[in-house]
C-alpha cells in the first residue's frame, strides 16, 4: 500500500526491460545479487555431491572422472562466480554510492556493461558442461590441463571474460570514491567499507590482467602447442603456477577485504560505540593489499621452487599476521564498554571472528616452511581456506546482507528465522570443516575420489555437517525472499546508524538522495 504512495528505485519504472536496461547502481547490484545467489546454490549442490561421495571409502556414488568434475566446478563457480563478486559487485554496487552520498557510480553505463560481461563469462564457463566438462581443478595446473579435455578452454575463457567485469567494476569504484563524494565527506570521514572496497579495487585492477594473460596463454598452449608450460614442448610446468598464483593469491584478499569492510561497519553500529582505531583499520586494508602481491610463492613450497625463494616467501607471508591482527583486535576493542545489540548482522560478526580466527591461525601453520611440507595438498589446506573463504568472506557477506536488507527492500527480515539459520550455519560449518584439519594432519591428500579406511569416521562427520550447512544456507535465502512480502516495513534508519545510506528513505529513491547530503562529522560519532 505504501508502494503506491512513495516512489523509490523499485517501483519508479516497471517491467523486465526496466531492469535489464537499468543504469541504476542499486538495480544492477540486485541483479548481481540474484545471479550470485543462483551460482551459490549451484556451487553448493556440487559441494554436497562431493561430500556424499566421500561418505564411505570406495563409495562409488559417482565414478572418479565425474567426481573430479564436481570439485572442479565447485571450486571454479565458488571462486570466480560467487565469492569474488559476492560483496563488491552486489553490496558494493548497491551501497558504495549511497555511502559516499552520490547519485550513482561514476560510470553507470560501464557498470551495466560489467554486469553483462560477468553473465557472459559465467555462461561461457558453464557451457563447458555440454562439452564433456572440465576436470582440471579450479587451479588449471599444467601440464595436466593442457592434455585434459578441451572443455577446459570454456572454463578458462569464461574466467577470462568475467575477469574484465571485475576490472571494470573496480575502476568504477575507485573513480566514484575519488570524484563523487558528498560535500564535507573528506577521506578521513570515509566509511571503512569504502576503504576496504578501495583497497580491493586496486588489487582487482592490478592482478586480474595477469590472470587474463595467463589464462589466454593456457588456451594458446592447448590449441597451438606453443610450448610455454608443457615440458614435452620445452616449456616449464611450474611457470604456470607462478603466473596463476600471482593473481590468485591476491584474489584471496579480493574475497576477504570487502568482508572485513562490512564487519568494520557493523561492529560500531551494534556496539553503539565509535570504531576503535579507524586509521589503523583503513591502513591495514592497504597493508594487506600490498602484501597480497609479494606472497604468491607460498603456494609453491614443494613445487621445486628454490630454497632461497621459499625462505623469502615464508618470511613475507608471516607479515600478513600484522594487519590482520590489527583489524581483529580493533573490532574486539570496539565492543569493549559498548552497548551490544544481538541482531543478525552482529551475530555474523561473531561467526566471522570465530571462524576467521581459526582460518587465520591455521594460515600460520601453512606459512611455516617445514609444516607446510607435510600439510600442503592435504585436507588441512582444504579446511584452512574454507575457514577463511566461507568463515570470513561468506560470514561478512551474510552480515552485510542482513545489515542492508532493510535499506535494499524496505522490509525487515525476521530476527527469529535469522537466529535459527545462524546457529545451523555455525554448527554445520564447524562440523563440516574442523574434522578436515585432523584428516589433513593425518595425511589425507585433497582431491581424492576415495580414501583409506582409517579416514572414514572423520569424513562421515564432515559429510553430516555439510547437510546442516546446506540447510542453513537454503533457509537464509528462503526467509530473505519470504520477508520481501511478509516482513515488517522498515524505517529509514532501523539500526540508528550514522553513515549516509541510512539518511535517505528505505528503499531509496532512484537517485538516492532527494537533496545532496552534506557531511559534517565522522561516520562513527556514536555518543549515547
Amino acid at each position: 500500500m505504501s508502494d503506491t504512495q512513495t516512489m523509490h528505485y523499485l517501483n519508479q519504472t516497471t517491467g523486465i526491460w526496466s531492469w535489464l536496461k537499468t543504469l541504476d547502481h542499486k538495480r544492477i547490484g540486485l541483479m548481481y545479487l540474484f545471479t550470485v545467489l543462483i551460482f551459490f546454490l549451484v556451487g553448493g549442490v556440487f559441494a554436497l555431491l562431493i561430500r556424499w561421495n566421500l561418505f564411505y571409502p570406495n563409495h562409488g556414488f559417482v565414478e572418479a572422472n565425474t567426481y573430479n568434475k564436481f570439485f572442479t566446478y565447485h571450486g571454479a563457480i565458488m571462486v570466480f562466480l560467487v565469492i569474488i563478486p559476492a560483496i563488491p559487485a552486489t553490496l558494493g554496487n548497491f551501497m558504495l554510492p549511497l555511502l559516499v552520498g552520490a547519485k550513482d557510480v561514476a560510470f553507470p553505463r560501464l557498470n551495466l556493461f560489467s554486469y553483462y560481461l560477468f553473465v557472459l563469462g559465467a555462461l561461457i564457463a558453464l557451457a563447458s558442461l555440454f562439452f564433456g566438462g572440465a576436470d582440471t581443478g579450479w587451479t588449471f595446473y599444467t601440464p595436466y590441463s593442457i592434455r585434459a579435455s578441451s572443455s577446459m578452454i570454456f572454463v578458462v575463457l569464461g574466467a577470462f571474460v568475467a575477469g574484465f567485469s571485475s576490472i571494470l567494476t573496480a575502476l568504477n569504484f575507485i573513480i566514484t570514491i575519488h570524484k563523487l563524494r558528498a560535500p564535507g565527506l573528506t577521506l578521513g570521514r570515509l566509511p571503512l567499507f569504502c576503504w576496504a572496497v578501495y583497497a580491493t579495487s586496486i588489487i582487482q585492477i592490478l592482478a586480474t590482467p595477469v590472470l587474463a594473460i595467463t589464462l589466454l596463454l593456457l588456451v594458446f598452449e592447448q590449441v597451438f602447442k606453443i610450448g610455454i608450460f608443457d615440458p614435452k614442448l620445452g616449456g616449464d610446468a611450474v611457470l604456470f603456477q607462478h603466473f596463476f598464483w600471482f593473481y590468485s593469491h591476491p584474489a584471496v584478499y579480493i574475497m576477504i577485504l570487502p568482508a572485513m569492510g562490512v564487519i568494520s561497519e557493523v561492529v560500531p553500529v551494534f556496539s553503539r560505540k565509535p570504531i576503535f582505531g579507524y586509521k589503523a583499520i583503513a591502513m591495514s586494508s592497504f597493508g594487506i593489499a600490498l602484501v597480497a602481491f609479494i606472497v604468491w610463492g607460498h603456494h609453491l613450497f614443494v613445487s621445486g621452487q628454490s630454497e632461497l625463494a621459499n625462505f623469502i616467501f615464508s618470511l613475507l607471508t608471516m607479515s600478513v599476521a600484522v594487519p590482520t591482527g590489527v583489524k581483529v583486535f580493533s573490532w574486539l576493542a570496539t565492543m569493549y564498554k559498548g552497548s551490544i545489540h544481538f541482531n543478525a548482522p552482529f551475530l555474523y560478526v561473531l561467526g566471522f571472528l570465530e571462524l576467521f580466527s581459526i582460518g587465520g591461525l591455521t594460515g600460520v601453520f601453512l606459512a611455516t616452511l617445514a609444516l607446510d611440507v607435510h600439510l600442503t595438498d592435504t585436507y588441512f589446506v582444504v579446511a584452512h581456506f574454507h575457514f577463511v573463504m566461507v568463515g570470513g568472506a561468506i560470514m561478512g557477506f551474510f552480515s552485510g546482507l542482513h545489515y542492508w536488507y532493510p535499506k535494499i527492500c524496505g522490509k525487515m527480515y525476521s530476527e527469529k528465522s535469522a537466529l535459527i539459520a545462524f546457529v545451523l550455519i555455525i554448527i554445520g560449518f564447524n562440523v563440516t570443516f574442523f574434522p578436515q584439519f585432523i584428516l589433513g594432519a593425518q595425511g589425507m591428500p585433497r582431491r581424492y575420489w576415495t580414501y583409506l579406511p582409517e579416514f572414514t569416521l572423520l569424513n562421515q562427520i564432515s559429510t553430516v555437517g555439510s547437510w546442516m550447512l546446506g540447510i542453513g544456507f537454503v533457509y537464509v535465502v528462503y526467509y530473505l525472499l519470504r520477508d520481501l512480502k511478509k516482513g515488517e516495513k522498515a524505517t529509514a534508519n532501523p539500526w540508528r546508524a550514522l553513515t549516509l545510506e541510512w539518511q535517505t528513505t528505505s528503499p531509496p529513491p532512484t537517485e538516492n538522495f532527494v537533496k545532496t547530503p552534506v557531511v559534517t562529522e565522522w561516520p562513527y560519532e556514536y555518543r549515547e
Binding site: G137, P274, G277, Y278, S303, M335, T368, L371, Y448
Partner: protein, 316 residues
C-alpha cells in the same frame, strides 16, 4: 589432532614445532573468542549501562602489532631450521630414482632392480630419492616421514629421509593428476639390516603385504644399463668416458664438476644440468664446443635418462 607415527628424526622435530604452534593457536583463539564472548555478555545492551566514547589507543595498537609479529618470526625461524634439515640430504645417502606416471610409482635402484608401487629401503640409513615424472605433475608424500615433494615433468626434484621405524609406510600422490589420482598409492618398506641384505642379494622377503617376489638372476646395475644405452643411442660417437677428445665434452669426472659455458657462465653439472643437456642440448652449451647435438627429448625415456645419468655419475 592426532598425527601419524613419526618414523624419522626429522618427523620428531616436525612434531615439536607442530604442537608448539597448535598450543600457540589455542592460546590466541581463546584470547580472541574468549574476549569476544566476555565482552558481548558483559557489555550487552542494558538500560543502566551507557557505552563509553573511545576511538583508539596508540599503546595498545602498537602492542598488538608487534607481539604477533615477534611470535610469527619465531615460528618462521623454527620452521626454516627444520625445513633445512628436511631438504639437505647427507652426502652418503643411498640413492633411489623415482618415476611418477599416471597412475603408478616406479623405483629404480643403483643395483639395477626396478619395482613398481613398492619401495624398499634400509632402516637407519639416509635415503635420497631423485624423482621425475613421465607425464603430469605428481607429488610424493610419506606422512610418516612428514615429507612431500612435487614430482615435475622435465626436471628432477629430490627428497630424503632416514627411517627409524621398520615396517610398512604409506606413500600417497598428493598433487591432483587425473582419474586415478586417489589410487596412486604405494608402499614404502623400511627393512631391518638382515632383510636389507636379503633384498640386496635378490632373495624373497617374508613380507605379508608385499607382492614382490625377487629372483636370484643378477641384473646389470643402473650404471651398467646406462653404459649400454650410450652405445645404443649413439652418445659415444661424440662423448668419451675416459677423457679423450671427441666432438662433445667427455663424461669423465663430469658429475658435480664446474662447467664453463660458451656465454661465460659457470654451472654445476648436477642431475638437472645433465638432464637438460640431453633434452635441450643448446640451452647450456659448453665453452669450446659447437652446437652440434640434436635433442633427445622423446627419444630416451625417463628410465633411460636415469640410467645414463647413473653411468655418468659412476665415472668419477
Amino acid at each position: 589432532m592426532s598425527l601419524p607415527i613419526a618414523a624419522t628424526d626429522v618427523a620428531v622435530m616436525w612434531d615439536h614445532l607442530y604442537w608448539f604452534l597448535v598450543w600457540l593457536s589455542v592460546f590466541f583463539f581463546v584470547l580472541v573468542v574468549g574476549t569476544m564472548i566476555y565482552f558481548v555478555i558483559k557489555y550487552r545492551h542494558q538500560k543502566k549501562q551507557k557505552p563509553v566514547f573511545i576511538t583508539g589507543n596508540h599503546t595498545l595498537e602498537v602492542i598488538w602489532s608487534i607481539v604477533p609479529l615477534l611470535l610469527v618470526l619465531i615460528v618462521f625461524v623454527w620452521g626454516y631450521v627444520v625445513y633445512r634439515k628436511m631438504i639437505h640430504a647427507p652426502p652418503n645417502s643411498l640413492e633411489v630414482r623415482v618415476i611418477g606416471k599416471q597412475w603408478l610409482w616406479q623405483f629404480q635402484y643403483e643395483d639395477g632392480k626396478t619395482t613398481v608401487n613398492e619401495l624398499f629401503v634400509p632402516v637407519n640409513q639416509p635415503v635420497k630419492l631423485i624423482m621425475s615424472s613421465e607425464d603430469v605433475i605428481h607429488s610424493f608424500f610419506v606422512p610418516d616421514f612428514r615429507v612431500k615433494q612435487d614430482v615435475v615433468p622435465g626436471m628432477y626434484t629430490s627428497i630424503w629421509f632416514e627411517p627409524t621405524v621398520p615396517g610398512r609406510h604409506q606413500i600417497f600422490c598428493a598433487e591432483y593428476c587425473g582419474t586415478s589420482h586417489s589410487q596412486m598409492l604405494a608402499d614404502l618398506y623400511v627393512l631391518s639390516e638382515g632383510d636389507w641384505a636379503q633384498w640386496k642379494a635378490g632373495k624373497k622377503l617374508n613380507l605379508k603385504t608385499s607382492r614382490i617376489s625377487m629372483s636370484n638372476v643378477p641384473s646389470p646395475t643402473l650404471a651398467e644399463q646406462g653404459k649400454k644405452l650410450m652405445l645404443q643411442k649413439g652418445c659415444v660417437a661424440c662423448h668419451s668416458d675416459d677423457g679423450s677428445p671427441r666432438p662433445g665434452p667427455t663424461y669423465k669426472n663430469l658429475f658435480n664438476s664446474k662447467v664453463e659455458l660458451a656465454n661465460g657462465q659457470v654451472v654445476i653439472a648436477d642431475e638437472n644440468y645433465l638432464r637438460e643437456s640431453i633434452e635441450t642440448p643448446q640451452a647450456k652449451l659448453v665453452k669450446g664446443f659447437g652446437p652440434l647435438m640434436p635433442t633427445f627429448r622423446g627419444i630416451v625415456s625417463e628410465e633411460e635418462i636415469n640410467a645414463i645419468i647413473a653411468y655418468i655419475k659412476s665415472l668419477k
